[in-house]
Amino acid sequence: MSADSGKELRIVGFLCNWCSYGGADTAGVGRFQQPTDLRIIRVPCSGRVDPLFVLKSLVNGADGVLVSGCHPRDCHYSEGNYYARRRLEVLKRFLPVLGIDTRRFEYTWVSASEGQKWKTVVEKFTEGIHELGPAPVIDATMIAKAQILAATAL
């Protein structure tokens, strides 16, 4: 299913104010059309993104989470994205044990001038999320099913 057809999915973006948020603005100024699923939360720096925001989103119904910051070496705060890179990479690798598809989370580096790149990132990521479909919903039905599954597995 392509990103622009069918039901919108819930994609949360955390973008650093200086680079990627600016890049998304640049994409807007350039009128680069993008799928509409993404909602952007502005943060000062990718280093501000506690991986727990991502997990919190994923556990509570986000179908995808995207973090984007300045390219390595270009952090407005010199080092924020280096910390972010380690933390987010660890996070991405942690997801499988939870049973969450790693493709539901990605982090990228997009500068304020890269409007075209931002469009590509949004398109690619959104398309990927649509390919995965909606994230499993943790509701009573799922819990009941999980318990039966667990019981039979024993």
Binding site: L55, Y82, V97, E106, P136, A146
Partner: protein, 317 residues
Amino acid sequence: MQYLNELKEKIKENLPELDMVVGWEQGFDSLRASPLFMRTEDDVDKMIWGPLCVHNLATYLPSLKGKKVGVVVKGCDSRSVIQLLQEKLIKRDDIMVFGLPCTGVVSLRKIQDNLGSLDYIESTEVDGDSLNITVDGTNHAFKLEDVAANKCSRCQYHNALLSDVFIGDPITEEAEDEYTDVDEFEDMSLEDRMAFWVSNMSRCVSCYACRNACPMCVCRDHCVAQSRDPHWITQEDTVQNKWFFQMIHSMHLAGRCTECGECERACPVGLPLLLLKRKMNKEIKELFAYKAGTLIDAKTPLLSFKVEEDNINERGW
């Protein structure tokens, strides 16, 4: 009860300079040990040592900050001490470490699985590599190996890595840890993995015993799980909240967890909580060739960075 007398002697020798020494004594029955805070020589005589001494006593150190404290540690426990020192959560000058070589400790859960109930233990005897438990007049013999904690079979640190006083002969053998348990778990389908956690977490009673037992959980009264500012977890009794708490715990322990397994041991409903932390450690090891609690002078990977990372490659977005 190897080395016990020597250990007692050493503790008594050093007790005058210390506010207390933390060790183990027999708990409410012969199978169970509990922490012992020794302030007098009489206290020291109550001490026990052996495969029943399960608790990681390092857990008590941060809350005893400011006091001069001795602590008795097994190999695995010593890693927690090192990690606490590395993070400056305790002061080296304030603690005295009594290190021991350890061949493994029991898993009460495994024994319980065999006996059905642990409520009526009459006597417990450790004899070489076997464990004899009498319940209701019946003797049950176990091989220690069969009822040892999971962490013991893959133990790479039998001897305390750090000690001011080391008692006994160091054990030379060490096992490999390839995180096969993590790999096996991840062989299951994504759906099954998620179902596993959802069903497990639905049993969680939110008692926070896992957190309280964790030597590296140092926020204590200020745990974000129970605060409104920041308000990470809502008051609702949901699976999401419980599961998310375990994620918080894992993330907070990323690059810090020494895999002592206290979280899992302390859990009253037997949730496999160590698995999450081991997954985290596996990735930390692969990414940064780092193991928590092995070097005092090291820097925790997530509190540092390299401009060019060795193992993190851009995925070409």
